[in-house]
């Protein structure tokens, strides 16, 4: 019996060995040492002309498997008399790469544009029914107001000096950065080319693609503010304030980070890692929106009924949690445009990392919702739906800056911290600062935008490579945990700029708007609900609102 088992084992081992030999790859022939390398094969125009097109008879039968469509016959010829040349093939390859990048950037921009619908649903759902028309209308018109300001002025301020964009065809027309000398280095402050998309040769296909993508980012920042000021913001003040933010506040910081400005150059000029790095805008979009929201929240004051005379806060519930969570899903969907689209490319320059960026985005959002849900469950006994939704958004906000530089494990850590941070920050803003923020925008976008910026300086793993350099510094972005403390300093300077400069700038602008237009509606209008006094029509005219809701 023993012998039989041993024999079987031996036979099985022998069979496995034989099989593995059969599966093994044959050794590749290696050139003899010292042998000259094989001469490169030179392609000529004649070789290109000899490339066989599909047979006409085969083509006439249709192409169900796609094998005959997209061949040599589809390469565009510059001169039909000369026929197909090697130059035609090379030009087609270059245009294909830029075309892939154009289509990628445009489609991801369209996804980001759809996020406006998500913001509108989240904010309207978290506000009371008596303000539904007003809140929805702010989210609707922030698109038009912001777009107008950005087309007129903002884009030129942000991107007018960014220089050639390799992924979009090396357009050279955005080359007018205004800079001053400080500490012996150039400090880029704002761009100068691109007013109305006509100025100084900016009527250009690549500039149009860049404008569309950057415009929807700017609009995301603007719509954050409407959440904090909801239910008491005078509509005229909203229009003026949003215009000024789209023209100046947002584009200034965006220039410093993405448009060739001074924070991006902290690496090249002062040896601080790769300078301020913000892949898709935790700082540029979300923290700018969050800091402006904080400024306006302080300036405009809390809603009537939010605090009693002792300063204790009262919960003012939103009217539709279904809208809120549907909006969160739309935002999570749109974020797949926000972060992966920020490569501005799907071909070349390391752009195949788009898969990694998308997965990091997905993971951090999930981790954020778990972090917030568990925090609320443990602290208050129930998994609060609106805070879980905010946790998802917090995770997405936080991963926006690092999404192109970190690995999946770091993404989950960043997301979980963001989910807990948003809950802590909401409590701090509401109970300690006594700033009324109906939708939690200051915490979701402000606090977690700053956390996202810092997390680049901690978790960037040095594995990304977008064309060999970032912000003019060779190599990959690397954070403190992977050996570069200088990157963290660059990120902290970005945080200081957001808290110290952007907040102050926003506050002063909104003080002026307050003096000229008046930021807050009258108490009577606020108590009645802003739909009739401000918009002239109810959001839900066939609904009879509860007396308690109307009074609150």
């Amino acid at each position: 019996m023993k012998i039989t088992i041993t024999r079987r084992i031996l036979l099985l081992t022998a069979a496995l060995l034989i099989a593995s030999l059969g599966w093994a790859q044959p050794p590749q022939p290696t050139p003899a040492p010292g042998a000259p390398p094989a001469a490169p094969v030179m392609l000529t125009d004649q070789d290109v002309k000899n490339a066989p097109p599909p047979a006409a008879e085969a083509r006439a039968k249709g192409d169900p498997d796609g094998g005959l469509t997209g061949t040599v016959t589809d390469v565009v010829q510059a001169d039909s008399k000369k026929g197909l040349t090697l130059a035609d093939v090379i030009n087609q390859a270059g245009q294909n790469r830029v075309a892939i990048n154009f289509v990628w950037t445009l489609i991801t921009g369209f996804l980001v544009m759809f996020m406006q619908a998500g913001f509108a649903l989240v904010e309207t759902g978290l506000c009371r029914a008596k303000n539904a028309n007003h809140t929805m209308m702010m989210n609707f018109m922030v698109y038009g107001t912001g777009l107008l300001a950005y087309w007129l002025i903002g884009f030129a301020v942000q991107m007018g000096g960014v220089g050639a964009l390799g992924t979009l065809g090396n357009t050279p027309v955005l080359n007018g950065e205004f800079a001053i000398k400080l500490f012996g280095k150039d400090f880029g402050l704002w761009g100068q080319n691109g007013l109305f998309l006509m100025h100084k040769g900016t009527y250009d296909v690549a500039v149009m693609v860049l404008f569309l993508f950057q415009m929807v980012f700017m609009d995301t920042a603007l719509t954050i503010v409407t959440g904090t000021a909801a239910e008491r913001w005078k509509f005229a003040a909203f229009v003026v304030s949003s215009f000024l933010m789209g023209a100046f506040t947002y584009p200034l910081f965006a220039n410093w980070a993405w448009g060739g400005g001074w924070t991006a150059a902290l690496g090249a000029n002062f040896g601080l890692g790769h300078g301020y790095c913000d892949f898709a805008g935790s700082g540029v979009v979300h923290a700018v929106g969050g800091m402006t929201a904080l400024a306006l929240g302080i300036l405009i004051g809390p809603r009537i009924g939010k605090y009693d005379r002792s300063g204790k806060s009262n919960a003012i519930l939103g009217h539709d949690i279904v809208l809120v969570l549907t909006g969160c899903f739309i935002l999570a969907f749109g974020w797949f445009g926000f972060n992966p689209g920020s490569t501005l490319a799907a071909s070349g320059n390391g752009a195949l990392r788009i898969g990694s960026v998308a997965v990091n985005t997905m993971l951090a959002g999930m981790a954020g919702s778990f972090g917030a849900m568990l925090y609320m469950w443990l602290r208050y006994g129930k998994p609060d739906a609106s805070m879980t939704g905010n946790g998802l958004l917090a995770g997405l906000v936080a991963i926006t800056a690092p999404s192109g530089f970190v690995n999946p494990v770091a993404s989950v850590i960043i997301g979980v911290i963001a989910g807990v941070l948003v809950c802590l920050s909401v409590e701090f803003v509401e109970r300690v600062m006594k700033v009324d923020d109906p939708v939690g925008a200051i915490s979701v976008h402000g606090a977690n935008g700053l956390w996202g910026v810092i997390s680049v300086g901690l978790f960037a793993d040095g594995k990304s490579n977008y064309g060999g350099s970032w912000n003019g510094v060779n190599g990959s972005v690397t954070g403190l945990f992977y050996g570069d403390a200088g990157q963290l300093v660059a990120q902290l300077i970005g945080v200081c700029t957001l808290v110290g400069f952007v907040f102050t700038f926003s506050f002063v602008i909104n003080m002026i708007v307050d003096a000229v237009v008046g930021q807050r509606v009258a108490a009577k209008a606020e108590l009645e609900g802003l739909d009739l006094p401000e918009m002239g029509a109810l959001g839900y005219p066939e609904f009879k609102l509860k007396a308690s809701s109307a009074r609150a």
């Binding site: 400080l182 302080i298 004051g301 809390p302 600062m433 300077i493 945080v495 200081c496 110290g500 102050t504």
Partner: protein
């Protein structure tokens, strides 16, 4: 008080920028930048917000 709050908030930013010219070591710059951040937060949370809270609507 509100103007002082705005000034201190902006001062924090200027301190952080000044760190670039004041020293070249990464550690030294990090300390100064963190000081700048704290100064800005004091400006917002400690000065500006309390100035606006004095006349808050719920105190009337």
């Amino acid at each position: 008080m509100a103007i002082a709050g705005l000034f201190v908030t902006l001062l924090g930013f200027l301190i952080a920028v000044a760190s670039l010219g004041m020293m070249s070591s990464v550690g030294g710059r990090m300390v100064i930048v963190i000081i700048g951040l704290i100064v800005s937060l004091v400006g917002i949370i400690g000065l500006l917000n309390p100035a606006y809270q004095k006349n808050a609507i719920w105190k009337k």
